[in-house]
C-alpha cells in the first residue's frame, strides 16, 4: 500500500467539513454563502485534476491506511481513469450545484441544512468512487443511500416526499444488502478485499462455481442504485426532492454509482455469457421502458427523470455488450450524459423557479425572457440528441460503432438503441423547444432570466459539452481513454471526433434522427397512446411498492397476533411444551435414556409412607374443588417434602422447608381468601387433556433425566473436601452451615441481596398506587414486606 497521502485525505474529508460549517455560514451570509461553500468542492476538483497527467499516462494512484487491521479492512483508495473521471464529475458538477442551490433555495429557512446534506452526499459519493477496499466501498455506498433518503424527504411535510424517500431507501437498501453479500462472496472466492487486486483475478472469478451467485448479488446492488428495470420506479419518485438534488444525485452522480460498479466489475466479471446476456437485456429493457415513459410525462422534471432511467439503461447495455467499442461508448455516453442532464435539470429548475410551473403544456415563449437558459437548453438538447458539434454526438457515433455487427443479436440491440435514442431525442428537444419557442403563454409567475447563481451551472455544462467535442483529441487523451482503459482492463485509445466518417454509424444516427422527428411531430398522440396502455395494464412496480409495504405490515400483524397472543396461559403452554421437547427429544435422539431402575429394596416402610403422603397431597391439590382445600393440600405435600429431608440427613433443610411451607400456606390463605376469586380451577376438557399432556411430558422428562444422571457414578470430592476441612480450618461442626457461610459464602451474599431487593420491591408494589400523590402514602396500609429469615 502506498504511503498515506495527506492531501487526498483532506480532499476526501473536505465535503464533510463543509457539511459541518454550512449551517453556520448560511446563517451569517444567507444564500451568498454559496460563493464560499463552492470553494470546498472546487478545491477537491483541483486536487483530483492534479492526478490527471499521471493517470492518463496509464498509472493508478493508490494510498490509504489500515482501518480495521483485525478484520483486514483498509481505508484505501485506488484512482485510475474510471475513479478519477467520476471524482472530477462529482466535484466539478458539485461546485456548480453549490452555486445553483444558492440561487434556487435563496431565502429558504433550511438552506444551511440542505447544504449539509448535499455535502454529506458529495463526500460519500467521492469516497464511493475512489474506494479500493470492499467494505469502504460498501460504507460509502450506503452513505449515499442515506443522504439521498434525507434529501428526497427534504420537504418532509408532504406525504409524497416521505413516501419517495422511504421508497428510495428501501429499494437502494435492498440493493445495498445484495451488494454486501456479493462483495463477501467475492471475498470468499478470491481471498482479496480490494478492487485493485480483484481486477487481475478475472480468470479465478469466472472459473468459480459461485461466479453466477456473486454476479447476481453485485448486479442486485448496481441495478437498484442505477434504477434498472424493474427497480426503476424509485428514481422518478425521487424528483420530490428540490431540483438541485435531482440534478446532482439523481442524474449526474449517485444513480451512476451502479454503472460505476458495473464498469468496475467488467475486467473481472465481463466476457462471459451471463454478463453479456444479463446486462444488455436489463439495460435494453430499461432503455426502452424509460424512454417510453418519458414521452408520456408533461412535467419537465419527470420527463428528464425517465430519460435518466433510459440513459442508465443504455450505459449498462453498452458496458455489457462486450464488443471493443461498446465499453468506450458507454464511457463517452456517461460523460456526455452527466453534462447535458445536469444542465437540463438545472434549467428545468430555472423554468419552474421563474415561471412558476414546470408543466410543459403550460409553458411557451420564454426565449426572449430567459435567453441564456434557452441557449443552454438548446446546447443540452443537441448533446442529448446526439447532434454535432456536441459531445453527445461523439458518444452516439461510438454507440453505433460498438453495436453494429452483422449478427441478429447485434442488429436487435442496434434497433433497441435507435428506438431509445430517438425517443430521448424527442424528449430533449421537447424540453428545449416547447417552453422557449412559440407563443408566449401566461405563466403563474412573470418570468425573467434566472440569477447568475442559477445559470452559471447549466451554462458551464452546456459549454463543456461543446468544448469536449471540439477539442476531442485532448479530451480523449486525458479523460476518455484512461477511463475506457480502466473499464476494459487493458490500454485502449478513443479516437472518435466530430469529423464524421461516412459509414454505418453515421447512417444509423440519421435513422435515429428521422425516427425522432417523426415521433416529435406525433408526440401528443404518442403520449396519450402510452398513457392509455399504462392505464390498461393498471399495475406497476411503483404501486407494487405500496402493496409490498402495506402487505408486509398486514402480514406481520397477522404473524404477531399468533406469535404474541397476549395470553399468559398460551405463553406458559408453549414454554412448557418447549421444556418437554427439550428434555425428551435429546434423550431419545442421543440415546441418553436411563436403564430401567430396580425397585429400591432397601426402602423402609416409613419412607414409603412419607413419599405416599407427598403423592396424595399432590393429587389433592389438583383434585381440589375449592381454593382452600387446594391450599391445604399444598401444605400436605410441602410438609411431606420437609419430612423427606429429615429422613435423608438434612435437618437444616427440613426446618427451613417447614417454615417456608407454613408461611406460604398461611399467607396464601390469608391473602387470597380475602379476594373474591373464581373458586375452582375450571378448565374445559380439551384444555385439561392438553395441559395434562404437557405437564406429564415435562414431569416424565425431568424424572427420566434424573434417573439417567443418578446412574452415572458420583464424584463427591467437593463434599469430601468440605467435610475434611469444615472443622479444622473453618471451625464449624455443621458442614452445611460452614458451606453456606464460608466455602460458598458468596452465594449467600447474593441471596441476602435477593431478600433485600424483594423487601423493597414488595414495599413499592404495596405502597405505590397509580397516579400516586405525596399525601396518599399515609392512607395506605403500611403492610410490612414479607421476608423469610434464615
Amino acid at each position: 500500500m502506498a504511503a498515506l497521502d495527506g492531501m487526498t485525505i483532506i480532499a476526501l474529508g473536505l465535503p464533510f467539513i463543509a457539511a459541518l460549517v454550512a449551517p453556520a455560514l448560511v446563517r451569517r451570509l444567507g444564500h451568498n454563502a454559496a460563493w464560499v461553500l463552492a470553494l470546498f468542492p472546487f478545491f477537491v476538483f483541483v486536487r483530483f485534476l492534479e492526478f490527471l497527467p499521471e493517470v492518463s499516462a496509464g498509472s493508478a494512484i493508490t494510498g490509504g491506511f489500515q482501518w480495521v487491521p483485525s478484520y483486514n479492512v483498509s481505508f484505501s483508495w485506488f484512482i485510475d481513469g474510471l475513479s478519477l473521471i467520476f471524482a472530477l464529475l462529482i466535484s466539478g458538477i458539485g461546485t456548480l450545484i453549490v452555486f445553483y442551490t444558492g440561487g434556487y433555495l435563496k431565502g429558504h429557512a433550511q438552506l444551511g441544512r440542505f447544504y449539509s446534506f448535499i455535502f454529506l452526499f458529495m463526500g460519500a459519493m467521492l469516497g464511493l468512487v475512489i474506494s479500493d477496499s470492499f467494505l469502504m466501498l460498501f460504507v460509502y455506498w450506503e452513505l449515499t443511500s442515506i443522504t439521498s433518503f434525507l434529501l428526497i424527504g427534504f420537504d418532509h411535510g408532504r406525504e409524497a416526499s416521505r413516501r419517495s424517500a422511504l421508497q428510495a431507501l428501501v429499494v437502494t437498501g435492498l440493493g445495498g444488502l445484495s451488494l454486501m453479500a456479493g462483495l463477501l462472496v467475492v471475498w470468499n472466492i478470491t481471498g482479496v478485499t480490494q478492487l485493485s487486486l480483484l481486477v487481475n483475478l478475472g480468470d479465478e472469478v469466472r472459473a468459480s462455481p459461485f461466479y453466477l451467485m456473486a454476479l447476481i448479488l453485485l448486479l442486485g446492488g448496481a441495478f437498484t442504485k442505477s434504477a434498472q428495470f424493474p427497480f426503476h420506479f424509485w428514481l422518478p419518485n425521487a424528483m420530490e426532492a428540490p431540483t438541485p438534488v435531482s440534478a446532482y444525485l439523481h442524474s449526474a452522480t449517485m444513480v451512476k454509482a451502479g454503472v460505476y460498479l458495473v464498469m468496475r466489475m467488467n475486467p473481472a466479471f465481463g466476457d462471459t455469457v451471463a454478463w453479456e446476456t444479463i446486462l444488455p437485456v436489463f439495460g435494453g429493457t430499461t432503455l426502452i421502458v424509460g424512454s417510453l415513459l418519458a414521452i408520456r410525462q408533461t412535467d419537465l422534471k419527470l420527463m428528464l427523470a425517465y430519460t435518466t432511467v433510459s440513459s442508465l439503461g443504455l450505459m449498462v447495455m453498452m458496458t455489457g455488450f462486450g464488443s471493443e467499442h461498446a465499453a468506450a461508448a458507454g464511457v463517452l455516453y456517461l460523460i456526455a450524459h452527466s453534462m447535458f442532464k445536469g444542465a437540463f435539470f438545472m434549467l428545468a429548475g430555472n423554468i419552474d423557479h421563474e415561471a412558476g410551473t414546470r408543466d410543459i403544456t403550460k409553458l411557451g415563449g420564454l426565449r426572449k425572457l430567459m435567453p441564456i437558459s434557452f441557449l443552454a437548453a438548446m446546447a443540452a438538447a443537441f448533446s442529448m440528441g446526439g447532434l454535432p458539434p456536441f459531445f453527445g454526438f461523439l458518444s452516439k457515433e461510438e454507440i453505433y460503432y460498438g453495436l453494429w455487427h452483422a449478427d441478429p443479436w447485434s442488429i436487435f440491440m442496434t434497433v433497441v438503441a435507435i428506438v431509445g435514442n430517438g425517443l430521448m431525442f424527442v424528449v430533449g428537444f421537447a424540453i428545449a423547444i416547447k417552453p422557449f419557442l412559440g407563443r408566449e403563454v401566461k405563466t403563474p409567475k412573470h418570468a425573467h432570466e434566472a440569477p447568475l447563481l442559477m445559470w452559471i451551472g447549466p451554462a458551464t455544462l452546456a459549454t463543456g459539452g461543446l468544448l469536449a467535442a471540439v477539442f476531442s483529441p485532448i479530451f480523449h487523451q486525458y479523460v476518455s481513454s484512461p477511463m475506457v482503459s480502466a473499464v476494459s482492463g487493458e490500454a485502449e485509445e478513443v479516437t472518435i471526433s466530430l469529423v464524421p466518417h461516412i459509414g454505418m454509424p453515421l447512417l444509423l444516427s440519421l435513422v435515429t434522427i428521422v425516427f425522432a422527428v417523426l415521433v416529435y411531430l406525433k408526440v401528443d398522440s404518442a403520449r396519450s397512446a402510452i398513457a392509455a396502455t399504462l392505464t390498461a395494464i393498471g399495475w406497476g412496480p411503483d404501486k407494487g411498492f405500496d402493496q409490498f409495504v402495506s402487505g408486509m405490515v398486514r402480514l406481520s400483524r397477522r404473524v404477531t397476533k399468533i406469535a404474541q397472543p397476549g395470553q399468559l396461559d398460551i405463553y406458559m403452554t408453549v414454554t412448557f411444551a418447549a421444556v418437554a421437547v427439550t428434555l425428551l427429544a435429546p434423550m431419545i435422539i442421543f440415546d441418553e435414556l436411563p436403564a430401567m431402575p430396580a425397585w429400591p429394596a432397601d426402602a423402609e416402610i416409613h419412607e414409603l409412607a412419607v413419599i405416599l403422603i407427598a403423592f396424595i397431597g399432590l393429587g389433592a391439590v389438583i383434585a381440589a374443588k375449592d381454593r382452600l382445600t387446594a391450599i391445604v393440600s399444598l401444605g400436605i405435600q410441602g410438609f411431606a417434602v420437609a419430612l423427606i429431608f429429615m429422613l435423608f440427613g438434612a435437618p437444616d433443610l427440613s426446618f427451613t422447608q417447614f417454615m417456608v411451607e407454613t408461611l406460604s400456606v398461611v399467607i396464601l390463605a390469608l391473602v387470597m381468601t380475602r379476594l373474591r376469586l373464581t373458586l375452582s380451577d375450571h378448565r374445559p376438557t380439551g384444555q385439561k387433556i392438553g395441559d395434562a399432556t404437557v405437564a406429564i411430558a415435562c414431569g416424565a422428562g425431568f424424572m427420566l433425566y434424573l434417573l439417567a444422571v443418578t446412574e452415572v457414578p458420583f464424584r463427591s470430592y467437593l463434599s469430601d473436601f468440605f467435610i475434611a476441612y469444615s472443622k479444622v480450618i473453618a471451625h464449624g461442626a455443621n458442614v452445611v452451615n460452614v458451606i453456606i457461610v464460608d466455602f460458598r459464602g458468596t452465594d449467600t451474599l447474593g441471596e441476602i441481596a435477593v431478600v433485600m431487593v424483594t423487601g423493597l420491591a414488595i414495599l413499592s408494589l404495596i405502597r405505590v398506587r397509580p397516579g400516586w400523590k405525596p399525601g396518599m402514602l399515609a392512607e395506605n396500609d403500611p403492610d410490612a414486606p414479607t421476608e423469610e429469615k434464615k
Partner: protein, 125 residues
Amino acid sequence: MEALFSVLVGALFAVSIYLFLSKHIIRVLMGVAILGNAVNLLIFTNGRLLREVPPVIAADEYTLQQAAANPLPQALILTAIVISFSFFAFLLVLGYRAFQELETDDTDEMRVAEPADEEAPPLGY
C-alpha cells in the same frame, strides 16, 4: 432410592406445571410453591441419597467418622429455598395487586399491556 425420588420429583414437576397452565393466578402461585419443592428435591437427589446421618461433625472429632449425607446439595438448596421463597412472596403480592388493579384473576382477561384490540399502525407514510 434415587429411582423412587426421581418418580416423586417427576410428579412434583408435573403437578406444578399443570397448575402453571391454569388461567387463574392463584393456581399458578401454587404451582410456583410446588415448583420450588420439585427443584429442591431434584438437587437433593442429584447429590445422591444417604439416610439419616446429617453432615455434622461430633464435638470431639475433627472430621466425620462415618458416611453422612452429602452437605453441598443441602447448602445449595438452602440458598435456593430462600431465593424461591422471596420470589414467591413477591409474586404473591404482585398477583394480589394485579387483582386489585385489573379486577380479575383470570390471566386471559389481563390485557392491559397487550390489548386485544390494539390499533394497527398506519399504512401510509
